[in-house]
Amino acid sequence: MSAPLLQVRDLSVAFGPVRAVDGLSYDLHAGETLAIVGESGSGKSVSSMALLGLLPPRSARIEGGTAVFDGQDLLRLSDRDLRRVRGNRIAMIFQEPMTSLTPVLRIGQQLTEALVEHRGLSQAAARDKALEMLRLVDLSDPPRRMRQFPHELSGGMRQRVMIAMAMALEPDILIADEPTTALDVTVQAEILGLMRDMQARFGTAILLITHDMGVVAEMADRVVVMHRGRKVEEGPVRAIFGSPRADYTAALLAAVPRLGARSAEDGPRPIIDQPALPGAVVLHAEGMSKVFAGRGGIFGQSGGTVAMHDVGFSVRAGETLALVGESGSGKSTSGRAVLRLLEVDEGRIELEGDDMRALSTRSLRKARRSMQMVFQDPFAALNPRISIGRLIAEPMLIHGIARGSELEDRVAALLRRVGLEPVHMKRFAHEFSGGQRQRICIARALSVGPKLIVADEPTSALDVSVQAQVLELMLELQQSMGLAYLFISHDMAVVEEMAHRVAVMRQGRIVEMGPRRAVLGAPRHPYTAALLAAVPKPDPTAQRPKLPRLDLKDLPMGPLAQTAPDHWVAQ
């Protein structure tokens, strides 16, 4: 193997007394993809920011080490010399493409700027080059894109622009920090494909920073696994996945949900000996529609967004119905509509036979006892200024279930139930980890003995190892208490683990609904099939099947028709 392009040795970065990166070493060779994987707080992002001098100058301190690129140590370059490397020879793309593009400048201007600056091209030449790059990243109508502003593009298109911008200078190294985490799974598949194409064309070395083992398996040649600032393992991707040497790597891989793992079973994994089986219908919704009004201008309302159109489903006690779909599919709207956290325009919602929409404000408040919600971001869902003991007690106080010492006993019992200690009662939300916070949210939801819990992406903000624990807790609670779950998720592998039945949503409509095994195993709607095919598999030996090219305009979006017992597909 030739000499490495980038040689990092003993890199250490500290934030105050905390070592975020501790003695990290690796080599990056020309044309290869090296993935740095780890959970939050592992130092994977910090270590790459340090290379480009992008750390917050006051709080972070590079304590030692070298990063030799092209004969010079990046960590010791002056700001001026570093600027010459940055963007020019080492380019970077970020997780959130909206924030990394300047909102007030046109795409064309942002693309040509670097070309004029670093390459000394004339405006006209830079413009030609920019157009060529936009064509290369597969954006339609490049001249029009050049005139557009970032907010006029979708997330996937913005990431394409970012890639075009990064690759326009034909850098030696592309640092991609969670490049697809904010994107929908079908878009993610396209962007990953694009990155591979660009790498093949320009021979760029990619330093890929990610938490997603599926993305690693699909993209990486070699892998560095980080944990708490240290490298725990390094090796070729197949060796890491096939025979991990470090315990941590093995545990990390074991926690990753794998799509297809339960394809032979009908229901979720039984956690307790005699799990409650699906019983009577708890929630029944039909014909729910919601249009979010456009902003009222001077000349009246200007259009609206259809968030839900004729959505209907039912959930039984002890059963999980998963609502899956990409962003903007209306799955969260449906979940919140069921709880009457937002009002639908049309439709009928019944909870245990009671018409929820007919309830007065007062009786709705009472009815909230039977339906609770668990949110995506557990930190935001906990009032920062109220101790968690009082937060968990609040629903019980509101509904007059308990008071005084009995209330305290119940809070303590709930905390134990979700795997926390009663002594935690006096603390505040910011003193807990992400997984603990979600347990607190679950304890709060359980406190009033609900029949139905709407869980909106309950583990999307969590690390995979924590996700596995929270999912297991949710399964155990369902099986012992007979809870009905409306489980909203974009993650097909998680859905497979949790759901009895699945409803796939797109553009505010359900396009396919049926038993989980049938929908995920033998999808009958082309969109479901495309979603499943786009999920990256955490297995480097698997060949991704050619992505089906979807003609989105011609997708059947019509009314649902029953094609098999309990299985409906949009026609």
Binding site: L341, R368, Q372, D377, A380, A381, N383, P384, H430
Partner: protein, 291 residues
């Protein structure tokens, strides 16, 4: 006055640690020292002041600063230093009462408007906008025209005039907090209107308002001094700083000490509250501290 448009603080800070953090930030420490000094002077005014602030001919008339009269005497022979010391009481009273009025009313208005949404919000906030479009001093003058001249009325007038400011800030914070999941979680738990407003929204609005209120004291002090200067606030013989300034303006060349010292007192007080406000913001807002 600089207005923090974004709500302050995500996590509650323990009181003892907050005070330590305040003392560690330079502006906070200096501001706190000035404000504390002002409070001590106000409380101990009779002890500190060498003369009765109202007694005429405590010394010769219009005497320049000397060992007997540190800041000289005025045209009636009253000791300027003693008057300034006693004036601190009036100043603090103006600050607390005026800010108290505008803070309470603005807080309630903003909370109700932001929480209710819909047409109550539109009506309340448009009203606030209408009042906001006039300069505060004009509104204060209008209030004084109705209430009549006097220091207490001036405080009330200043308080009323700055209600829109506090209402707007509260409203903007409520709009942000109302869209956070924890608020939705409380709604989903079945919480009543009062519980949602006072248990969930209010505590998250207060830190921002502490900062704004502290900064607001200096504005109120300045406005009161202005009104007194115009003869609409403090009346003779009250030792109010603004009024002292105005009564000295004919003598500016002959007895500059009569103008310099009340002016300095106002400036230092305003500076103190501004620094303290900045310091408190740094403590309460972790994002600012990280910068």
């Amino acid at each position: 006055m600089s207005a923090p448009a974004e709500p302050v603080a995500a996590a509650p800070v323990a009181p003892r640690r907050a005070i330590w953090a305040l003392l560690r930030s330079p502006s906070g420490a200096v501001g706190l020292a000035i404000v504390l000094l002002l409070v001590v002077v106000a409380l101990l005014a009779p002890v500190i002041a060498p003369y009765d602030p109202y007694r005429m001919a405590s010394g010769p008339r219009l005497a320049p600063p000397s060992w007997d009269h540190w800041m000289g005497t005025d045209q009636l022979g009253r000791d300027v230093f003693s008057r300034i010391v006693h004036g601190a009481r009036l100043t603090l009273m103006i600050g607390t009462i005026a800010v108290g009025i505008s803070l309470t009313a603005g807080l309630l208005l903003g909370l109700v408007a932001g929480y209710a949404g819909g047409w109550p919000e539109r009506i309340l906030m448009r009203l606030v906008d209408v009042v906001f479009s006039f300069t505060e001093i004009v509104i204060a003058l209008a209030c004084l025209a109705i209430l009549g001249v006097g220091l207490i009325n001036a405080m009330i007038a200043i308080g009323i005039a700055s209600i829109p400011f506090y209402a707007r800030i509260t409203h903007s914070v409520v709009l942000v907090e109302k869209n956070k999941p924890y608020f939705e979680a409380a709604v989903a738990a079945g919480a009543s209107h009062l519980r949602l407003i006072f248990l969930h929204l209010l505590p998250n609005v207060i830190p921002t308002l502490i900062v704004v209120g502290t900064l607001g004291v200096s504005t109120a002090v300045l406005a009161a001094a202005g009104l007194s200067f115009l003869g609409l606030g403090a009346q003779p013989p009250q030792p109010e700083w603004g009024f002292m300034l105005s009564s000295s303006r004919d003598l500016i060349s002959g007895a500059p000490w009569m103008m310099i010292f009340p002016g300095l007192a106002i400036a230092i007080t305003v500076l103190g509250f501004n620094l303290l406000g900045d310091g408190v913001r740094e403590v309460l807002d972790p994002r600012q501290r990280a910068r």
